[in-house]
């Protein structure tokens, strides 16, 4: 018998596999391809206090082994989300994690205030998006600012609070500790690595906004390293992500110490990747006689 369940801050997920925010919408687009009931949780695309238009196109550039995006958190706002996406997701037996974005502490607070009492399972505070000019990543690169925004949001949150970290810092454990000091119940990492691509024939950057966030299999070693370091540095559960495409990748993160894992860009490369990862983890556990993921979590010293 294998038990794939994981517990994150008192919320029990049927398995550790989630979808990284911004790569899965609220799951609708994937329901043609996969059974959403198979997922541990759906982490929805970033939700702001009011609708955000996002950045001008081109927003996407392909790079070796991955991609750059500069979407800029286009979203229809928290009211629309509450009315449309929560009822949609609640049809499925999976946990709902709402990614919260903002330009200022006040905007983050406004989203979380509106989500109070809603039928969701956890919050993920996005202080790490590289594609917005104010807020976003600036909160995630300064330990003091990170602690402040987390503690402000934590006061209002009625659900466990995950804080999503950026890899674009010198020492990610500093920010991790600051987020935990602010009251983070869990951490998720990594968000995208800032990157750039130039079209030499047009002599222009591919992205309209020049710089975007890199994701995909090519970033995985960086993400594994950071998850490993953060798991050693803090005592809260960590959700690992960054280039995970299959069960082998996911298990690396779990051995590095992650409690949960998210697939991001992989959803674009194969819309069934998340469910295939669930199946692959189950197969690994059966084959190697792992009855619970607790047995292999964080086994790397």
């Amino acid at each position: 018998m294998i038990n794939t369940k994981v517990n994150i801050c008192g919320v029990e997920l049927k398995n550790p596999v989630m979808t990284a925010s911004g790569t899965f919408g609220s799951g609708r687009e994937f329901s043609d391809f996969i059974d959403l009931n198979r997922l541990g949780a759906v982490v929805v695309k970033g939700v702001a206090a009011v609708p955000w238009k996002g950045n001008p196109a081109p927003r996407i550039a392909e790079v070796y082994g991955g991609m750059l995006n500069s979407v800029g958190l286009q979203n229809p706002g928290v009211d629309w989300f509450i009315e449309n996406d929560i009822p949609f997701l609640r049809q499925f037996d999976t946990k709902i994690i709402v990614n919260v974005c903002g330009h200022s502490v006040e905007e983050y607070e406004n989203v979380v205030r509106k989500l109070r009492g809603q039928d969701i399972d956890m919050l993920e505070l996005n202080i790490s998006c590289p594609n917005v000019s104010e807020g976003g990543m600036s909160f995630g690169t300064d330990p003091k600012m990170a602690e402040n925004v987390v503690s402000a949001v934590k006061k209002l949150a009625d659900k466990p609070l995950i804080v999503k970290l950026t890899p674009n810092v010198t020492d990610i454990t500093e920010i991790a500790k600051a987020a935990v000091a602010g009251g983070a119940d869990a951490l998720s990492l990594i968000n995208t690595l800032t990157g750039m691509k130039i079209d030499i024939y047009r002599r222009k950057p591919v992205l309209q906004r020049k710089i975007g966030g890199m994701s995909g299999p090519a970033v995985k070693p960086v993400a594994v390293r950071m998850v490993y370091q953060v798991c050693k540095a803090v005592d809260v559960p960590v959700i690992g992500m960054g280039g995970i495409s299959n069960a082998e990748d996911a298990l690396e993160f779990i051995m590095a110490g992650a409690t949960g894992v998210s697939l991001g860009t992989a959803n674009f490369i194969d819309p069934e990747a998340s469910v295939k990862t669930v199946r692959g983890i189950e197969e690994y556990m059966r084959k190697y006689k792992v009855s619970s993921l607790d047995e292999i979590r964080g086994i790397i010293e």
Binding site: A57, E62, G65, G66, F268, D270
Partner: protein
Amino acid sequence: MKKTETAEVLSNNRLAEGIYDITLKCPGIAPMAKAGQFIEIYPDNGANLLSRPISICGAGEDTLRIVFQVVGKGTDLFSKLKQGDKVRILGTCGNGYTLESGSALLVGGGIGVPPLLETAKRLIASGCKVTAVLGFRSGSFLSDEFEKLGAEVHIATDDGSVGFKGNVVDLIKAKNLAADTVYSCGPKIMLKFLAMHCEGQNMPLQVSMEERMACGIGACVGCVVKIKDETAADGWTYKKVCKDGPVFDSREVCWE
């Protein structure tokens, strides 16, 4: 409904310089195809991960025909596919054209011509009179197939090597071509001038747009175009080419 499928390459022919014509056997996806829709094809070479959106040029019972231009690493890879090779595809994507009754003017520019062939086929089958205006930089491709279907064909080339020397909009004006509905696919600049002309003539125009995509199914929100929206404070909103389009009413598009 969308599906993924491993398709078999039945044939691959070079139609013109850098233009390839592939027929895929894909019994799961082919029956869903509508004119103006597209499929996503995955390079699956380990380095280029994102699928490439390619318009549907022809749809059979269990086959799809795609005609595409080599513009980068992904399409270069597809151009080398041989009979019997397998490719992973996803489809069908996008809304496609809304086929109206009455006469039709089909306006294609370059690699925007292929999706109009399936459009012509379906319009002619439903009894519409079809006129096709096809524009190319130099030479032409697929124009004979429009003729075979029974469409009246006009060709414009930038260099005058075939047909009218100039662009499709000038050709339409010169020959005074008109129809109840105009269907178009091509470079944005061509679509913009065509939109100005059609609006002046009060001809409804459906335009098929293009933008860089990642997922092709509406999840990544990468492939946006500016669309008029009276409910928005500044009068416009970003819509997704892959899911809300690729076909839009030209009067909805914010031409820049």
